[in-house]
Assembly symmetry: C2
Homo-oligomer: 195 residues x 2
DNA sequence: CGCGCGATGTCAGCATCTGTCATCACCCGC
DNA sequence: GCGGGTGATGACAGATGCTGACATCGCGCG
């Protein structure tokens, strides 16, 4: 028999989710989570840099689902084409069977300021990574920033609607929101009216 | 003679900035900051909810400089017009004589993950406030989200360039970036080509 | 003169996070 | 098999972040 049960991190993630739902984030200590998984506080911090981080596993795969589609595009693809591909790729991760979990998790994150902070940081980091790829493709730095962050805003907004119960798929929502964005920013041209 | 010197918060802000520059954020304790201002750690936490918050005073005025211009607009102003007014209003706070301070502070914030997190949170909160005003004006919620966050992205990008030494004023930078954004999102229309 | 107000000090205490060392099943080479 | 290295864990100590409770005392007001 193995000295330790395998899947320590997985067990702690599950325990954390349960405890956060049951008594809230603040009222749950790292030691509580570890104990619920049959481990000690010190081991918790060996698997997660933060108490918060226990709700943010899989960030690498999440980021990859945005970044991988970029590499499949021709090098001369327009900046917004790259961004749309990235966002659609990321949105594709969220299949209907994940909705219950996503809703549960989003409820906890939204209700907990420090978790919201971390979530926003992750999304900002994602935007920076996308921008970096754009810059690597020769897009000017400011354009890359604007395009990447716009894409992440579209994703975040679409995701929020999906979690809130919108029947459309995340990809469809993103497509609609890109159209909305184009329409909105089209209002900007009416100032100068130059083409 | 007064029992306490006035301006406790101000003194701690100054001391914090000095200490963060001198030895870094992590190596500076809240007690260090308080002691440098002739106060105790407990008093520090009476003035600031967080150790981080000592670098984020004046958030209310900052937000107000975005929100106040909105109220001056007619109720039927287009969403992006409202956003542009807000962003220009916010950018107007940053006059040339503030650049040295802004650069110093930005250096600390950028170099310190927890401070970056807080900064991003503040900007996201600002975007939410702008979106709320838009919704109050009858703009659909998703449009409001997209427009407000796009505006904040423009501001953040402009601010970064200003701090990095761009000679243009923040307002001018914002104007240019709004044009860039319109041009970029214009790429989206080439997909459907419908008007 | 006395009384309350308000900013501060003092102290205790819990939670977050880190460094360090010991433990012990497992695996690998001999 | 057998002995040593490996790696995840436990145990412990400690610094720091942050909060609650209570005491202090100049100041202004009646």
């Amino acid at each position: 028999m193995a000295r330790w049960q395998p899947g320590a991190a997985e067990r702690m993630r599950g325990a954390a989710l349960d405890l956060f739902v049951e008594r809230g984030y603040d009222a749950t200590t790292a030691a509580d989570i570890a104990a619920a998984a049959g481990l000690t506080e010190r081991t918790f911090y060996r698997h997660f840099t933060d108490k918060r981080e226990v709700l943010f596993w899989g960030s690498d795969e999440f980021e990859a689902s945005f970044l991988d589609p970029i590499d499949a595009l021709p090098p001369d693809a327009p900046a917004m084409t790259v961004v749309v591909a990235a966002v659609v790729g990321g949105a594709g991760r969220f299949t209907p069977e994940r909705r219950d979990f996503a809703t549960l998790r989003a409820g906890i994150v939204d209700a907990t300021p420090p978790l919201r902070e971390r979530e926003r940081d992750k999304m900002a980091r994602l935007a920076s990574l996308v921008a970096q790829r754009l810059i690597g493709r020769g897009v000017p730095a400011t354009d890359a920033q604007l395009a990447a962050h716009s894409g992440v805003t579209v994703f975040t907004t679409a995701f929020a609607r999906w979690v809130a119960g919108d029947a459309r798929s995340p990809e469809a929502l993103c497509a609609d929101l890109f159209d909305d964005l184009a329409r909105l920013t089209g209002q900007l041209n009416s100032r100068t009216e130059t083409v």
